[in-house]
Structure formats: C-alpha cells, structure tokens
C-alpha cells in the first residue's frame, strides 16, 4: 500500500521569507499524481498544487512550487515570499489507484507558522 510521510510536524518562517515543506512517499506505481493541500484554521481542505508523475517539469502556482524527485520519491513544497495568510496545516497527498479504484492517501501534515 502507498504511504506518505511528512517528517516535519511543525515549521515556522518569517513573513516574506521562503520555506520548504518535505514529503516522501512510497509506491510501486509508475504513473500517479501528487498534491499539496492547505488546511487553514477554518479546517477546509484547499488544493494548493498538483504534480503529474510523468511530467519532469516541476509544477508552480504563483508563490508555490514543488521539487519533485521521482527517483527519490520526494515531493517538497516551496513557499516563496511567505504571507501571514499562508499559516495553516499543509498535507501532502498521493493519488492511489491500487486495485482499480482510486483515492487520496494523506501524510500527517505540517503545521506552518508565519511570523510577522
């Protein structure tokens, strides 16, 4: 079964600085999708960015970018020019297609604090 590991339970960053959140995963599939979700205090799950495994180019969405290392099974999220509104839990997720049906497998999350 696929697993997703986020080794940093908490991270902090100064406003306007850059922070990188780590994620590793384990899979035997060759084609898959990876996602980062943000969960602010309101607890809604908001899609931040996604990466298709067959694409070598790292995904970017404005201040958010990923460093996808397929061989190392690593999928880190970089937040540039951090803003107070970026403070949230961040979950890395893997789209599993095991057994013919699909679901998201989540890591345990990283709590990001942004200091003014």
């Amino acid at each position: 079964a696929q697993t997703v590991t986020q080794s940093q339970p908490e991270m902090s960053v100064q406003e306007a600085e850059t922070v990188t959140l780590s994620c590793t995963y384990d899979t035997s599939e060759s084609d898959y999708y990876l996602f980062w979700y943000k969960q602010p205090p309101s607890r809604q799950m908001i899609l931040v960015i996604r990466q298709e495994a067959y694409k070598q180019q790292n995904a970017t969405e404005n201040r958010f970018s990923v460093n996808f290392q397929k061989a190392a099974k690593s999928f880190s999220l970089k937040i540039s020019d951090s803003q107070l509104g970026d403070a949230a839990m961040y979950f890395c997720a893997y789209r599993s297609f095991e057994g013919g049906s699909e679901k998201l497998v989540f890591g345990k999350g990283t709590k990001l604090t942004v200091n003014p």
Partner: protein
C-alpha cells in the same frame, strides 16, 4: 467558482444515535468521496462512490456506515449508531475524473457525547 457544500457545519449527537451528514457535490462531477479527520490527526479515506455504487471502502467504513445519493444531487453519509470515537471532522469531496485532485467541502464537525 463551484463549491462542494456540506451541512450541517457542526453536529452534536448522543452515543448510539443515528446521524446523517449531507453533501452537495459539484454538479458535473462523477466521483464522490467521504474522508474523516480526527482532531490533530491525518485525513483518512472512508469511501468512494461512482455510478451509484461504492467503488471502494476503507476498514473504517464498517456496517455502521452507509452512503447514498438519493436524488442525483445530494450525497449522504449515515452513521447508524454513533460511538465516541466517531467524533471527527467529516469531509465530502467530488471530482470530475479523479485525476486532478478533488474539491473538498468545508466539513462537518461531528461531536458524539
């Protein structure tokens, strides 16, 4: 932007009671899901639903749980006899293809007392 709507936002129920959590997925989506997040823990898959039937369910989704799409728009999760350990945030999600990530609702916080 289309949204997934969940009601109620918070429900308190007594142990042993039945609860129904409601969701209205995005109208042109075909895949529907329920996930659960116990406070402070990771988000866990409960069940997926496609073409009016369950595609997959997790070990958590035992006989106490059921899902239904009664009228082509609502998607409900029923817990027949709630336990204290069912207290959690329940998220509904929908997707058009399942490929590009899901749209989650804002969740229902279930408290079993």
């Amino acid at each position: 932007e289309p949204e997934v709507t969940q009601t109620p936002s918070h429900q308190v129920t007594q142990m042993g009671q039945e609860v129904i959590l409601r969701c209205v997925p995005i109208s042109n989506h075909l895949y529907f899901y329920w996930y659960r997040q116990i406070l402070g823990q990771k988000v866990e898959f409960l069940v997926s639903f496609y073409n009016n039937e369950i595609s997959e369910k997790s070990e958590i989704f035992d006989d106490q749980f059921s899902v239904e799409r009664p009228d082509g728009s609502n998607f409900t999760l029923k817990i027949r006899s709630t336990k204290l350990e069912d207290s959690a945030m329940y998220f509904c999600a929908s997707s058009d293809t399942g490929l590009y990530g899901y749209t989650f609702g804002s969740g229902t916080r279930l408290t079993v007392v």
